[in-house]
């Protein structure tokens, strides 16, 4: 490794020294056993008010053992990836399978965890050695500086996180999958203060610039430009009026559509949630199994795809963590709900068509149904035309608050900034724009969908779910979208 090289680019073989012995151990098992090795090397750098925050590095390596015993899949994970450690863990899983299998909710055919083989790589991994500390530092320093446009800007934050992941799955039934990922997250935000007013404006919301890939993700000039604009807007928001209250048309920018899609399409359509697995924690869903193929989820303009093949988007992959090959599927077409976000296990339990989406956060968690790249497809209306359709409304940008009920119905969102629209023209900015609604009513009020020129791609490293809980990466691309008659309100002491 070169001294100035930022990514670690550490070979997996360096960390799995007993792989031959492990393979031999695996072959000696009588029951079907799968080993999912997961290694993460994550580096985070940040600056606040031109000062370096302590750089951090996080290394994880372990294996999740899956044993298939009389139709039941039992899990045991360990960080001891020696042959002896894995042998011990296989025995632990086997004992649990024998002791607990009779209490299992149901049994599966082995095909729900197919013994597939293949590889995947994030795009442009070969460029990673070209990413140097100097360039990372330059990005953070210049972005910080670009936000220093006033004494009223009291906080200027910029950060970059690079996570290199290797996922290797082998089994004694023929599975061999190796997927390598490089995940990037960049963020910048400025906080402005005047007397008792505080406003924070970021580059498209907190940690939404999330992508896979190589050096092409170091957009120094673009980030500086966007950060400078964020600082300008933070200042402007100090003097802005509160967002007005009332029923009005709303254009949601892609960096708010990110959360709207996530909370009110992604989570309600997770099939394990519909089957009740999450009811003690993250909740259930208003969606029923019989809704697939017929429920009018949104207006005819709503088309939503599950697309793990978009390799630059944050949650791209070739296989999910149970071995299902990942393919692009339409989830909602012309407003009609077509397909669930459900893995092979959930599809077997429910009889409903799904996708390859069983994923685990790391080696220490079992895979469960997760959304991945979930995108609203573009329409045909330009942004100026979207705006011209609004007589009385707001265009809201950059999510800052999100909340939804445990059936994924009643929601409330807040954004960093609103642009007031009156008689088809933007007339000024407003602060603390919020809106609330109900999921089906909301998506059925979709009045116009922006064209390709309005599409932006975002993601999040922080989608949480499950018991035990786990955080997963997701991607959401969307055009700007116009919704009719939403319940809008501003900030302040009361709503």
């Amino acid at each position: 490794m070169q001294k100035n090289q930022f990514p670690l680019r550490r070979s997996l073989e360096a960390d799995l020294r007993e792989l031959s012995a492990i393979r031999a151990l695996l072959e000696r098992q009588t029951a079907p056993v799968t080993l999912r090795f997961h290694r993460e090397l994550q580096q985070t750098r940040g600056r606040r008010n031109d000062r370096l925050e302590s750089p951090s590095l996080w290394q994880q390596l372990g294996v999740m053992v899956e044993i298939y015993h009389h139709g039941v899949i039992t899990y045991a994970g360990t960080a001891d990836v020696s042959a002896a450690g894995i042998h011990r863990t296989i025995e632990k899983a086997r004992r649990s399978a024998e002791a607990l299998g009779r209490h299992s909710l149901g049994s599966f055919q082995p095909e729900v965890h197919p013994s597939t083989s293949g590889t995947y790589e994030s795009p442009h991994l070969e460029t990673l050695p070209q990413v140097h500390f100097d360039a990372v530092d330059e990005l953070l320093i210049e972005t910080n500086r670009s936000m220093a446009n006033s004494d009223r800007i009291t906080q200027r934050v910029s950060s970059l996180q690079l996570t290199e992941v290797d996922s290797l799955t082998i089994s004694n039934t023929g599975a061999h999958r190796h997927q390598q990922f490089a995940y990037w997250t960049t963020a910048a935000a400025a906080t402005a203060e005047k007397e008792n007013e505080v406003q924070t404006r970021s580059v498209n919301g907190s940690h939404s610039h999330c992508y896979q890939g190589g050096i092409e993700n170091l957009h120094i000039q673009k980030l500086c430009r966007d950060a400078a604009q964020a600082a300008d807007e933070a200042l402007a928001l100090l003097a802005a009026e509160n967002c007005p209250s009332g029923e009005m048309d709303v254009i949601l920018a892609p960096d708010q559509m990110l959360l709207q899609i996530h909370e009110s399409i992604g989570h309600p359509l997770e099939l394990d949630r519909i089957l009740g697995d999450e009811r003690n924690y993250a909740g259930w869903s208003f969606v029923k199994l019989e809704d697939f193929g017929q429920l009018q989820y949104g207006s005819e303009l709503l088309n939503v795809s599950f697309d793990p093949s978009l390799r630059h988007e944050f949650a791209a992959y070739a296989f999910d963590d149970t071995g299902a090959r990942a393919t692009r599927e339409m989830i909602i077409e012309k407003g009609i709900l077509k397909r669930a976000l459900g893995s092979l296990e959930s599809q077997a339990r429910s009889g409903v068509p799904g996708v390859a989406n069983a994923r685990a956060a790391s080696w220490n968690r079992a895979p469960i149904d997760r959304m991945a790249n979930l995108n609203v497809e573009p329409g045909s209306t330009s942004l100026p035309d979207l705006i011209s359709q609004v007589e009385n409304g707001v265009m809201m940008m950059a999510n800052t608050s999100w909340s939804i009920d445990d059936y994924r119905d009643k929601f409330q969102f807040g954004c960093e900034i609103g642009h007031r629209i009156q008689n088809g023209k933007i007339t000024g900015i407003v602060k603390n724009p919020n809106y609330r609604g109900r999921t089906l009513q909301f998506w059925r009020s979709l009045k116009a969908v922006g064209d390709r020129s309005t599409v932006e791609v975002y993601g999040s490293p922080y989608c949480g779910k499950g018991e035990p809980s786990q955080i997963i990466r997701v991607g959401h691309a969307s055009p700007a979208c116009l919704f009719a008659g939403l319940n809008v309100f501003g900030g302040g002491q009361s709503c």
Partner: protein, 455 residues
């Protein structure tokens, strides 16, 4: 087993410390668990996952430069030290290129404290059978977590602190439907401070008690139009709001960076009701006393006392940055401090009088997905969840449809706070993101007016 982990941590620490140069310092924080998780749906096991995981977080310092590193541990000393040396070289290569840190963590005075609890033998087949048998006829969904968890801190100037406990909990819900087929549920939580073979007896007593609430839940929903209502918040419901306030509300770093919802309280432009006293209280046993830098906060630290701000939590790194004195606050996510063992002092409302005193209004047992709707104004939105009821003249009439609320904490804990119950409830943290949390709250119930439901 826990003793051997402690000895591993000591050996790991000593080996590393001996390899440091005079200009280097190192703080090590070890976290780990060996847990069995059972996920339940419809009264049967949906997934069984056992995890043994240990990790160590370094705070490495060289000539006042600072880097942080977290490494997975296998507990094979030779192997883990080999990895450590490899990454130490990386840190040594990076440190000279850094600036002097404005957040240099302190190396506190050396001391030694080890506390290790017993690890019982636990027959998981018996646990599963107990739960399944008691769930017959019930739609039970739940999460069982059991096994030892540990935390340790050492540093290169001689500190060694280590605490390890076996713990377990069963967090669960029981679902039913109203006569109009509306889904309803009650929430239960069972945990004891030490493992007893007959835990199932007491858990089933709790289950019987919850079944009474299930009966009421079969009545059709009472429609509640949006508006402001007299409302009783159970300790668990209050926890939903308090846990949201923990995002910056009690953090000095949050205050200094403009992200604290209690800025007006801190700067004495606002106050809360005299009924409100909140403090970090480590005598409750919810969490290890030491923080991740080995700092020992006061056993009891008042945060808000009779409605007035007293202290914000300050960790060593924040103290260095802002040139203030640390009070051992724990640095949570996003560089801000968060309470680990929070207590709100109770009031004088007898629990058995709560319904009668509520009179007519809404009884909220649980809330869901709370978030700031306006952080600066300390406004929080969220949803009611589980067994929440419409009450008339002190009598529970019917369950309610889940409602969205949006309330200002200055009002809720200010002029709209009517009373707090005499008895506070211990609520252990059941979070398991990455590792099991080791924290908790002790909170009373709260009777309030003007609690605003919006949807």
């Amino acid at each position: 087993m826990l003793k051997s982990v402690q000895m591993f941590f000591e050996s790991y620490s000593q080996n590393l410390f001996q390899s440091l140069t005079p200009e280097e310092n190192l703080i090590l924080q070890m976290s780990g668990e060996e847990c069995h998780y059972l996920r339940w749906n419809s009264g049967r096991i949906r997934q069984s996952t056992e995890v043994e995981q240990f990790e160590v977080t370094w705070t490495y310092q060289w000539k006042e430069r600072q880097l942080e590193l977290t490494l997975q541990l296998t507990l094979n000393l030779q192997q883990d030290l080999a990895l450590a040396q490899e990454f130490l070289e990386r840190l040594r290569a990076q440190a000279p290129l850094l600036e002097v840190s404005h957040q240099l963590a302190p190396l506190i005075q050396a001391e030694r404290h080890v506390s290790i609890g017993a690890v019982p033998q636990r027959d998981m087949a018996e646990v599963a059978a107990t739960i399944e048998n008691a769930s017959q006829g019930l739609d039970l969904v739940g999460f069982w977590a059991s096994g030892p968890i540990l935390r340790g801190v050492s540093h290169s100037q001689g500190l060694f602190l280590f605490e390890a406990r076996d713990t377990y909990f069963f967090d669960y819900s029981i679902f039913t439907k109203t006569s109009r087929e509306e889904n309803k549920a009650v929430k239960g939580f069972f945990s004891e401070s030490s493992w007893q073979e007959d835990w199932g007896v007491r858990w089933q007593e709790q289950l019987q008690h919850l079944k009474k609430d299930l009966e009421i839940l079969t009545r059709p929903n009472h429609a509640v139009p949006p508006g402001k209502y007299r409302t009783y918040l159970s300790p668990s419901a209050l926890q939903g709001l308090i846990d949201t306030l923990k995002w910056g509300g009690f953090s000095y770093a949050s205050y200094k960076t403009g992200q604290c919802p209690f800025k007006d309280l801190i700067e004495k432009r606002a106050r809360l009701s005299k009924l409100v006293t909140l403090r970090e209280n480590f005598t409750l046993g919810f969490a290890p006393h030491f923080n991740s830098l080995g700092e020992l906060p006061p056993e009891i630290l008042p945060l808000i006392e009779q409605g007035e701000h007293r202290n914000s939590l300050i960790c060593g790194k924040t103290a260095k940055e802002y040139q203030v004195i640390s009070n051992g606050g724990e640095s949570g996510g996003w560089g801000t401090e968060s309470p680990r063992s929070l207590e709100m002092l109770p009031g004088d409302l007898a629990p058995e009088k709560a319904l009668e005193t509520l009179g007519t209004g809404i009884w909220v047992n649980e809330v869901h997905y709370c978030n700031y709707s306006d952080r600066k104004s300390a406004r929080i939105t969220g949803m009611t969840r589980y067994a929440c009821f419409w009450v008339e003249n002190g009598e529970i009439i019917a369950p309610i449809e889940d409602l969205r609320f949006d309330v200002n904490m200055y009002n809720l804990f200010g002029e709209d706070l009517i009373a707090l119950t005499q008895k506070a409830q211990d609520l252990r943290d059941v979070g398991t993101y990455h590792l099991r949390n080791w924290a908790g709250n002790r909170l009373p119930g709260a009777l309030v007016r003007n609690f605003e439901f919006t949807l």
